[in-house]
Subunit: 236 residues, 2 copies
DNA sequence: ACCTGAACACCGTTCAAGT
DNA sequence: ACCTGAACACCGTTCAAGT
């Protein structure tokens, strides 16, 4: 909360307007902080150059001295998430579980910021945080004895999966509160079950597993198993 | 092109304003046609309610009598693509190849319309076209002897892969013309190779395979192999 | 060098009014 | 019932002007 219209009178003693008036100057860091707070509070749709500027008590034009475009700002948000990801100490014995841990880290790291995953699908992450993460993943995949080309594909395929599933999940979460979520799933199940069986026999028959089919986490883990097992099959 | 300010005089003879003035009325169909043409010509960024209205010679407000929102219009575009997808005749002998064919169909079907895949990641497709497609995929996966729960996961996982890879590819394609594409890949490769090897040893070492690594099609096929083989492992 | 106000060229959607 | 003009409440970005 920012008190603009009715500020407290200056404190008695040394602190005068000198420390108050020239408020902290803008910086990339402060802009990213404010942007992340907005995403956390209202999702990616709430993020605009204007909303960031407002939160920082300035106008949108002022941001362009520190950030080239909204797209760059989104990149910086992704990079911020990447920097915070846990990276396991490589251990050939448990390389498959370590790969899974790294994929889980992006997936849940993104989900911690609402639908931020949407901004992550857009571009090859080339920031330092993303690159150190990639470097570690390559190292672990190599420990698994995979050929270079398989490693190269894997380092693309695994984060694609992590991000796409995070995006899919976040979109549904964004659309509905938790109770509405239950009802929505229920509605889809009923919709599937009520379809004309002569035209969609297999969808109708599978209405249960298609929708109930375990929690979201189980779904994610299933795909992760498939991918890691599939990659491992190329190992020595 | 629409001549509004200087219309031609009415042709001599029978054709009078009667057949000319009441131009074809709006309809969902015409709106979707116009929207798809805009996406094909300029990508998803060029699509707005206003650009569609302009193409139809009307104002944006007029569209809302036939389409609830821009989101619904996007759904209709996806459904239009889904209706046109090829569906193989189920054959237990070749179920894995048939699954691949269906995944390729969505992937390339979306890519035929620029970055339309972006609109497809957003929501569970519930249109008739999408459902008949799903029904056929379920049928084929069952022919492969997969347990119901694996089928249910697969019918989610496979289109997710098809769409996410189409989106990724289209974004890069959207950003650059074909020659620029080569140069861009080249630049990334050089960037990777020029990174400090003490901090990113594995990225630097793999700069070649990471970027060159075959055509986009090979990348896509690799992931498809991994997924289908991974699913098949759950079969009887 | 950094910041700002004002403007430009857009958005999706609503609504009262027309036919 | 279908369509429209005008308006509302927004966008990202630019640019001349200020300090």
């Amino acid at each position: 909360m920012v008190f603009v219209s009715s500020p407290m009178p200056p404190r008695p003693g040394r602190r005068s307007r000198i420390t108050e008036l020239p408020r902290e100057p803008l910086s990339r860091e402060r802009i990213v902080d404010a942007a992340m707070a907005i995403v956390d509070a209202g999702g990616l749709d709430a993020l605009s150059m204007r909303s960031v500027a407002l939160a920082l008590g300035t106008g949108p034009a002022s941001l362009y001295a520190h950030v080239a475009s909204k797209e760059e700002l989104l990149d910086l948000l992704i990079e911020r998430v990447a920097v915070g990801l846990e990276r396991p100490e490589p251990d050939a014995e448990h390389w498959q579980e370590q790969v899974k841990d790294m994929v889980r880290a992006i997936h849940y790291g993104l989900l911690a910021h609402r639908d931020l995953a949407r901004a992550s699908l857009a571009n090859i992450p080339l920031g330092e945080g993303a690159l150190t993460w990639s470097d570690r993943l390559i190292e672990i995949l190599k420990l698994g004895g995979l050929p270079d080309q398989v490693v190269a594909y894997g380092v693309d395929l695994l984060p694609l999966y992590a991000v796409a599933t995070a995006y899919e999940y976040a979109l549904n979460a964004e659309r509905m509160s938790s109770e509405e979520g239950e009802r929505y799933i229920q509605e889809i199940r009923e919709y599937f079950a009520a379809l004309p069986p002569d035209r969609f026999p297999h969808v109708v028959a599978l209405a249960g597993p298609l929708t109930a089919g375990g929690t979201e986490g189980e779904r994610f883990e299933f795909g992760l198993d498939v991918l890691v097992a599939g990659l491992a099959a190329y190992g020595r």
